[in-house]
Structures are given as C-alpha cells and as structure tokens.
C-alpha cells in the first residue's frame, strides 16, 4: 500500500506526498502523487493510472477527506499520469482537471466531458485555490509536447512532472534525495531517453533557475530539497538529451 506524508504545512496550507507501494506489481512504473490543500479544498497532481487508483485513494484517505479534492492537475497525457480520471470523476462528478489544451480531445478518452477540463494555454496560466495562487509553468517537449509543471509560490514548491524523475530500486524508502551524486545516476538514463529536446531543456532550466524553489517534486523518484534543487538544474542544463542508446 502507498504511504502518504505531509511535506509542507503552514496553517491550512499543506502539501502531501503519496508514494512508495511495496505491493505494486513490478511491471507498473512507480509514481508519486502530490496533493495541495488550502482550507477545505484540495488539488491532486498527476493522480496516476487506473491500476493504482485504490492504493492512491486509500493513502490519501489516511491524511485527509478525499471529498475535498475538487481539482486535478495533469502534467501531460500519459496513462501513468491521468488514466484514473474516470474513477476520480465517478467519486467526485464535479471535479475539474487542469490540462494542456493540446490534449483536450485525447484525454477525454480516459473519461470526462467538456465541463471536466480547464485548458492551459501554451504560455501557461495562474489560478487560485482558496487562499493560494498556483502557476502552470510550461515544460513543453519535456517529455510531452504539451507539458506543464505546477508552482506554488507561497510554499516555494515546484511539482516537476517527469523532470527530476529517477527510477529507484524497489526497496528505496526515502521520500527525499539524501545523496545527490548517487541519486542522479538513477535519473541520468531516464532524462537522456525521455527528454527529446535540448532547446526545450535549456529554456526550462533558464525559466526555473529564476524561481524561488525550496522543493522540487518529480512524479517518479524522490524530492530534491534545498541546494539539491539548484544542483539538479545545473546537472540537467549540462546533460545532452534526446539520446537513443541502441546498445
């Protein structure tokens, strides 16, 4: 079963991480889900695939009332990101999903109607949830052609989707990166193969290096905290991507 952990808390403003499921079959990629809560409203980022819906739902129920989840954010269109959409709609029919306009007619194949989606233009957008403002940060072609990250300026946390992702061993339990040099080797292959554009990568590095970030939370792997955030951005800026290693 997945574990949920509060990673940020200031008054009624919280970030919850849902991660690490030892019972997950090994043919499914491990994913992290994040929830931002402000007052009695919450937003779930990259809710995950259909197969892990019971585990994610159960872990969230431990720390909060899941009926408070009124919003979803999908960084892109992949099945491990948003194929559970129809199940969340079954539970909460009024739920609204923020998603790149590019996928407006693709993701409804997983579920939802016109009313379900709040489209994000290519340049990004800001929206409010109770007392906090959230910013959809463009990350196109990293790896999806319509891709966004979500920045919470008040908490200084960036949800970075597949950027920063690392394929960790099954017995890894740390939620936060503790040894950057060791960890980054588990991220290298993923970034070189999945990220397709050096130009897009450089643009993203420049954009986020101007942001005030305490924690960078990827959808796979562990959280980069403090100095490791800058370390990661520098590492990524120097990394050639779009490499097909055929060996």
């Amino acid at each position: 079963m997945k574990t949920s952990q509060i990673i940020f808390e200031r008054g009624d403003h919280k970030w919850i991480m849902v991660a690490r499921d030892p019972a997950k079959p090994n043919y499914l990629i491990d994913t992290n889900e994040f929830v931002i809560r402000s007052g009695n409203e919450a937003l779930l980022m990259d809710p995950g695939g259909t197969e892990i819906f019971p585990a994610v739902f159960s872990a969230i129920s431990h720390v909060m009332d899941p009926t408070e989840i009124k919003l979803l954010f999908a960084s892109h269109q992949d099945p491990d990101i948003i194929s559970s959409l129809a199940l969340w709609i079954d539970f909460q029919p009024e739920i609204v999903c923020h998603l790149s306009w590019l996928w407006s007619s693709f993701v409804p194949h997983f579920g939802g109607t016109n009313e379900t989606f709040a489209m994000i233009p290519d340049v990004g957008k800001k929206f409010r949830m109770n007392n906090i403002e959230l910013e959809c940060v463009p990350a196109h072609y990293l790896h999806s052609s319509g891709n966004f990250h979500l920045y919470d300026k008040q908490a200084k946390i960036l949800f970075s989707g597949d950027i920063g992702a690392a394929l960790l061993p099954a017995d890894e339990t740390n939620f936060v990166v503790t040894d950057f040099d060791k960890h980054i080797e588990l991220a290298r292959g993923f970034h070189q193969r999945w990220m397709g554009s050096n130009e897009a990568k450089n643009e993203w590095c420049e954009r986020v290096s101007n942001m005030d970030i305490d924690m960078m939370c990827p959808q796979h792997g562990a959280i980069y905290q403090g100095a490791d955030v800058e370390r990661f951005i520098n590492w990524f800026a120097d990394l050639p991507v779009g490499i097909l290693n055929q060996n």
């Binding site: 079963m1 019971p54 009332d65 009926t67």
Partner: protein, 200 residues
C-alpha cells in the same frame, strides 16, 4: 457457461456501500480516534489533578484510573476498527475500478449480438462484492463492540462526576469531568452516526 446480461452480476445491481459512504464513515472514525486520544489525556490529567486537589478524592482517583484503562482499551479497539476501514476503503476503491470496467464491458456486450460476458468477469464481480460485503459485516461487528465499550465509558464518566461532587473538591475537578463527559458523548455520537450509515 457464459452469462449474457445477467442482472445479478451487472455492475451496480447488487447493494454494497459506495466509496463515498465509506469515506464519510472513515472521517467519523478519524473523529473517534481523536476523541479516544483526547480521553486518554483527560483521564491522565484527572489523575494528576486529583492528587493535588482537596482531600477525600480516593473514589475519584480510582474512577479516573479505570477511565485511563478504558481509554487504552478503546484505543486498541479503534486501531482494529481503523484497520478494517482501511481495507474497506481499498476494496471499495477497487470495486469502483471494476464497476467502471464492467460497465463498459456490459455496454459493449449489449450492443453486440452473440457475444457474452466472459465467466471470469462475472466471477470476479462476485468476488469483489463478496469481499466488500464481508468487510462491511466485520466492520459492523467491531462497531457493536465499540458501542458496548462506550456504554462502560459513559458509566465511568457519570461515576467520576459523582465522585468529584461527593469529594471535598475545591472546584478544580468539575471542568475535568465535564470535559470527560463531552468527549465520551462526542465519540458516541460519531459511533452512532457510523452505525446508522452502515445500517442504511
């Protein structure tokens, strides 16, 4: 044997608690857990307070010791109940997933001629509904046990109040006994509400 459009196995035709209902009960359980923790702290405070307050509070000390034991028992039972509700949430979420898949499958079959819903689908439907049913029954039993335990808690709280009044209390025990009674009432209310939801 393949079963075509079998009403009994079609998604949504058998009555089990919905995920939303289980979530509502889970929130009540969280209130009970908080109440049970609070009761333990109040009982401990009562024991400390009775040692520094007026003379002749021996009866009160005994009752608060019993209340502390009671709150520990309650906490143990609540842990078991919480585990049951955790399983119920997971199974209910799994059921939602199955219902969604099955709904699409049954719709497809209804649009096709000569195609039946495979047996394994029907059997797995039965299995998940049975599991949710069994968990619900087990959970209800635990709630009944909790209700019985709470009756003891009610009596102890009343007894604590009586002992506080009959002792030479300087007034410092009265707010504690009021707090005790309110906490126990709060737990009982959440328990009864949960039972009512399960019964419906």
């Amino acid at each position: 044997m393949n079963i075509r459009n079998n009403q009994e196995t079609e998604p949504g035709t058998r009555h089990v608690m919905t995920l939303r209902t289980v979530v509502v009960i889970n929130e009540k359980m969280k209130q009970i857990v908080r109440g049970s923790n609070r009761l333990y702290v109040i009982s401990l405070n009562a024991m400390f307070a009775s040692r520094v307050t007026a003379k002749g509070v021996g009866g009160f000390v005994e009752v608060t010791a019993l209340l502390r034991d009671f709150s520990q028992r309650l906490e143990k039972l609540v842990v078991i109940i919480t585990q049951k509700i955790d399983s119920l949430i997971t199974q209910s979420a799994l059921m939602v997933k199955k219902q969604k898949h099955n709904k699409l499958l049954f719709e497809a079959v209804s649009l096709s001629s000569g195609v039946s819903v495979p047996n394994h689908v029907v059997l797995s439907n039965h299995k998940i509904y049975d599991e949710v049913d069994m968990l619900s029954i087990d959970f209800s039993r635990q709630l009944v046990l909790c209700e019985k335990l709470m009756q003891i808690g009610d009596s102890l709280a009343v007894l604590a109040k009586v002992e506080a009044v009959s002792s030479a209390d300087d007034g410092s025990l009265a707010p504690i006994t009021t707090d005790m009674t309110e906490t126990i009432n709060h737990i009982s209310e959440n328990l009864l509400a949960s039972q009512a939801i399960v019964a419906n």
